[in-house]
Amino acid sequence: MSVLFAILFYLATAILVLGLAARTRKYLNTPAPLKIPTTPAPTTRSGVAFRMLKELTIFESLFKSNKWIWLFGWLFHMGMLLVLLRHLRYFTEPVWWWVELIQPFGKYASLMMLAGLGGLLLRRIVVDRVRYISAPSDYLMLLLIIAIGATGALMTFVTNADIVTLKDYLLGLMVFDIRTMPTDPILVVHLSLVILLMAIFPISKLLHAPGIFFSPTRNQVDNPRERRHVAAWAIKLESSESK
């Protein structure tokens, strides 16, 4: 069991990291030949940074669009962020001071995350427009993350798993030393689902996470008249003509 999960963990981590790196490289290497920021857009790089920051932290465009999706989406993502940060305590010894600090918030954030996910799932089922655009994978993805959150919350609030042994196991994995993994069923389910999520991350719609940084409508500076912007393949077009 301990060895099996160690292999799975390493494999999933490799897929996640290499998959995301490959995808990010594809985005980086694909040119944006035309200036297409959705205007009004910032005219400076720092303005663009501020626009992106607002998209990342308060989901500005989504807020303009639909308050329900915004509310559920924001609760889910911010809850998940806190939960993930809280999980750093299982990978650090001694635990960093700020991770200690957010511990109480991180615990309850799992409920916030589940509330958001529940809302999103409900919308997907109830609103006819959203139901129409949903593929089976869209439901399954929500259910997967709900299951991860729910098993985690269960261990936090209802039945305690053997966290001390788990932490020892995880710290071991980080230095390629396979120790004993606790076998509480609920923990095994939790970990299995996390491994699955990590493995499908780079081939699923979760690519919106790196994607948002590369979206030309959001990350371009509005200055086409001041600065000429030409892609490499377009320059070839120019030089192939005898001018």
Partner: protein, 514 residues
């Protein structure tokens, strides 16, 4: 053409998100381009035999050339934020007119051939083979998108359906299934210099006629110069400005402004078109060919500045792409942006008190302003973000006493397309155009009833033509759409002498440059 029977949608007091009606617009698709319109643009004359392979290969080529396409195809999480944002969905209730569903027509094929999950478990992730039915769906529904970018404002990742529509149209052109309206027009503009196919003599005739009309009406000899070498300003304007109503009144307005500024300006018969339909079909090469005509005209005439007339998608290509496609414009006067919008030009003069207006000339009207989609969401005017909203409104307020804005959700960055943009302004799509105008009509009705608005001003040739056509379906009259520079034309007081003597010309030129 076959007569289209359809019911004009009812105008509601408040916008309501309609219930889905599957295939409500499945019957609406434009005429396919024949070989004589396809081949000059470098596309096959009819559907090629191995179209599936060609289409799939082209799809891969485009995702390697356009980061937007690649990121947008990967990033959508189907959150539903865009589902009620498209005017064609609101007007037709067809679910495939929801932006995400329209994208998915393309995305499902991309997933099938270019993603691991789509290759292994297509059903699970909504991936689908490219079949004849799918191609037909593409042709139908990618010609129900006006590339207005409203969805991109509301998408948390900025996914712009216009980018997907353009890519899909380019793939269709590449396999030999292009749209007649766009491709015929691009051919005309690339050979004759304008979308209407007006030859030079017709242009000369029109401009001479305008000079006579304006002199008769005002007693002042306002010039409409063509192909004047050594002029300072080259005006590039949509060819509809040469003959259609209310466009032509806008052209008269530009001429009066130039006259009052004492500017030396000219039109070009070689580049007598502002609109660039190459964008509509997603073809960088065709768009570039059209843009290069403008560069050539500027070089041949030896002008110092380029100013664009009132046209929406044209201004997007001009403002956002011209420098990219046909630059650098280092041979022009570096003191002015290249290109400038006629509204920027007029606005500058107003700021400097260089124009005199008698606003009462427009007192028979109460105005509102329609933000044209591509001006609003794909360009700018002036130095500050949002200048594209304030500058035209400032001009209207400087020339009219009565002005009211439509409700906030329907203007500025949230503006609704007129319903005819992006290569859809053709009679074979009239049902789509009428239904797509619904959200704008509701907003207009709101200010008509609450503020007594009588006329709507716009700065886009497509918007003006579209509204002239669809207004009667909603019990408005076709003359209720006006050009912004028509308002300028009505109110401007012509103070300059008939034949601008050279000293005076120089003075006002300097004043303007200062």
């Amino acid at each position: 053409m076959a007569k289209v029977e359809f019911a004009t949608p009812e105008l509601k007091e408040y916008p309501i998100i309609p219930k889905l009606q599957r295939d409500a617009m499945a019957h609406s698709s434009p005429y396919v381009a024949k070989d004589k319109f396809q081949e000059p643009l470098g596309y096959p004359g009819e559907l090629v035999e191995n179209w599936k392979e060609v289409a799939i290969a082209k799809m891969g080529e485009l995702t390697n050339k356009y980061r937007s396409l690649q990121v947008f195809l990967d990033s959508c999480v189907k959150c539903g934020a865009c589902t009620d944002k498209c005017h064609y969905y609101l007007g037709t209730t067809d679910p495939k007119n929801m932006p995400v569903a329209r994208q998915d027509l393309f995305r499902k094929v991309y997933r099938r051939y270019y993603t691991l999950a789509g290759k292994l478990v297509p059903k699970l992730v909504g991936a689908e083979d490219l079949t004849e039915e799918v191609l037909d769906d593409w042709y139908t529904y990618f010609h129900q998108c006006s590339q207005c970018r409203r969805c991109s404002v509301y998408c948390p990742y900025g996914i712009d359906t216009a980018e997907i529509s353009m890519a899909a149209r380019e793939v269709m052109d590449t396999v030999g299934k292009g749209q007649k309206y766009c491709n015929e027009i691009i051919g005309k503009a690339q050979t004759l210099g304008n979308n209407l196919g007006l030859p030079e003599p017709a242009l000369i005739d029109t401009l001479e006629g305008l000079e006579e009309d304006v002199e008769e009406e005002t007693g002042v000899a306002v010039k409409f110069p063509l192909d004047v070498k050594g002029a300072d300003i080259l005006l590039i304007t949509p060819s509809a400005d040469f003959f259609a109503e209310p466009h032509i009144d806008g052209l008269i307005g530009y001429a009066k402004v130039f006259h009052e500024a004492g500017a030396s300006w000219t039109l070009s018969s070689y580049a007598s078109e502002a609109a660039n339909f190459g964008m509509f079909i997603g073809s960088y090469e065709n768009m570039r060919k059209l843009a290069l005509r403008i560069r050539q005209a500027a070089l041949d005439l030896g002008v110092k500045r380029i100013v664009f007339g009132e046209c929406g998608h044209a201004w997007r290509v001009a403002y956002s792409f011209l420098n990219t496609l046909a630059g650098p414009f280092d041979f022009l006067d570096p003191n002015y942006p290249v290109p400038q919008h006629i509204c920027e030009y007029t606005h500058d003069l107003i700021q400097k008190n260089a124009l005199t207006f008698d606003k009462t000339e427009n007192d028979h009207m109460t105005l509102t302003y329609h933000d044209s989609c591509n001006v609003a969401r794909a360009s700018r005017m002036g130095d500050v973000p949002g200048g594209q909203f304030t500058i035209p409104r400032d001009i209207i307020k400087a020339t009219c006493n009565n002005f009211y804005d439509m409700p906030e959700h329907a203007i500025k960055e949230g503006t609704y397309c007129c319903g005819g943009g992006g290569g859809l302004l053709t009679d074979d799509l009239i049902e789509l155009r009428v239904k797509g105008a619904l959200p704008r009509m509701e907003a207009l009705k709101h200010v008509t009833e609450n503020n007594g608005v009588t006329h709507m001003a716009a700065i886009c040739a497509i918007c003006k033509s579209q509204f002239s056509k669809v207004f009667p379906y909603y019990d408005f009259t076709m003359d209720q759409i006006v050009s912004v520079h028509q308002l300028v034309s009505n109110a401007i007081v012509l103070t300059q002498a008939d034949e601008g003597d050279s000293d005076e010309d120089k003075q006002s030129d300097d004043a303007e440059a200062a």
